[in-house]
Amino acid sequence: MTGPFETICSLAKELDAGRISSRELVEDAIARTETLNPDLNAVIAMNKPGALAAADQADKARADGANSPLLGVPLLHKDIFCTRGVRTSCASKMLTDFVPPYDATVVKKLHDAGMVSFGKCNMDEFAMGSSNETSFFGAVKNPWDLNRVPGGSSGGSAAAVAAGLAPLATGTDTGGSIRQPAALCGITGLKPTYGRVSRYGMIAFASSMDQAGPMARTAEDCALVLNAMAGHDPLDSTCADISVPDYSAGLEQSIEGLRVGIPKEFFSSHLNDGVAATVSAAIKELEAAGAVIVDVSLPSTDLGVSTYYVIAPAEASANLSRYDGVRYGYRCDSPSDLQDLYLRSRTEGFGEEVKRRILIGTFTLSAASYDQYFMKAQQVRRLIAEEYQSVLKDVDVIVGPSAPNTAFVLNDGSKSITDMYMEDLFTIGANLAGLPAISVPAGLVDGLPVGMQLIGSRFGEAQLLNIAHQFQIRTDWHSLTPDLEDLTG
């Protein structure tokens, strides 16, 4: 008998020993989702018959001698990944009826590894948001406190794993959309190096920063999943043709002598005191394990938010121009002419935050503003990336908080648009610089999870996962689970 909060590694052992079948696991996951999801709103599409058939296939394959560690393990995909024959909405009215005729490479790779997808996770519309409140299907609730946000944009994925609906959910991270919700929901989330995982079939937001990654209970599980997700894909021209190491094999290395850089700018006035104390205590754990703590500086940290919020909306305005009501997606009723079709389909199909970003992006790309905003931001992006590269020549890893605050209350009217953008302050740098970064549970403040972020060198996922795993051997923050008894009855 397994509980809902088992890790993938633990489930793999149970499956391998024949103590449980994939069908039982998937049935349990579906039943738990049906019970809890009305309160959480973390899952917005289910594929019960397909999942049960895939689970039976996995059980048969295992009986026939197959032995992949992911074989038969259930998962949920963020609804940004195209899934053949299963609605993929990106949490937008624009794609409410979109049924992709193909699978994203991430979906295909995890399917080929034997994982069983049973549904799709809610998210901020087109991945634009840090609270999961911009979804056309309504806000996701944080399992630790249903009055609070789970973070975003992969908020449904984070809430689903935190609530034990599935041991794994896929996420995507353009400015922190894996790490921030992972932190706010008390799970482990990895954003790989830009180009480590294929973007084919992942609905585009900001193409020079979008990257897919695993969201799970532990770094050990993330390593196992990244083994299957990563690798070159000829269908994504930005996907790196660099060999994929065995991430699971490198987890047991000592971190004695590891040089850990602590940027003073990450412990600035923007950071909540409780989060600062919790992350500082977690850094002490690394030190106790033999790591050497080094003070470093990333002076352009504050410029990251401005830089990101020029570049990401600019790329989004270009990417989202494809939604014109002609080939797929929402079309307005009775258009009077072609311009009316474009205008009303887009105005009615997109939500407010998406339209806000398209407008800003269109403005910064316009001839009159291009040099002042877009070109300038691309130049500052290089300065920021060079600062990270320079610091990472001196230290092995950069460590700090994943987010400035714990989960905030839903519909917090006191937060302005730019206040909300500041939630991404500590995560944005890794996206601008294309670096891998992971968030691991580091403690609780007032009963709410806090995440510690580790940022590594390009294609340094193995080292990040190793450090995170060593931290999780010494702490049990990743084992804490929210109390959902009232919901489960």
């Binding site: 049924v99 005729p101 193909y102 190096t193 830009y194 180009g195 020079s208 920063m209 269908l235 021209s237 930005t238 790196a240 043709d241 410029l303 938010v305 401005s306 919020y309 121009s321 014109d324 002609v326 080939r327 797929y328 997606g329 929402y330 079309r331 002419d337 072609l338 009316d340 079709l341 474009y342 205008l343 009303r344 887009r346 105005t347 997109f350 339209k355 806000r356 398209i358 407008l359 269109t362 403005f363 316009s366 905003y373 070109m375 300038k376 931001a377 691309q378 130049q379 500052v380 992006r381 290089r382 300065l383 990336a385 648009i417 730019t418 953008y421 996206n431 601008l432 294309g434 390009r458």
Partner: protein, 94 residues
Amino acid sequence: MTDAATVRDVAALARLAISDQDMENTTAEFNQTLALFDALSSAETTNVAPMINPLDSAQRLRIDRIETLVDRAGLMQNAPASEEDYFLVPRVLD
């Protein structure tokens, strides 16, 4: 500061409509976001090359060979309006 007329022009470029009722609020939000960008002007970027790709890598191109990744019927099934193998739109030419 950007005025409502500029925001309306940008919206037209983006093929988005803003109602008269929403224009004041949209313009205020627009300016609030632009104010966030003012910080960029403090950065010294003379002779700094823009960074387009975070790995500074060139796009890898596949061999220019015709391949069928998704069949036409699969693609057409999501069309809001189609006839035979064509997408239907309002008449453009009289």
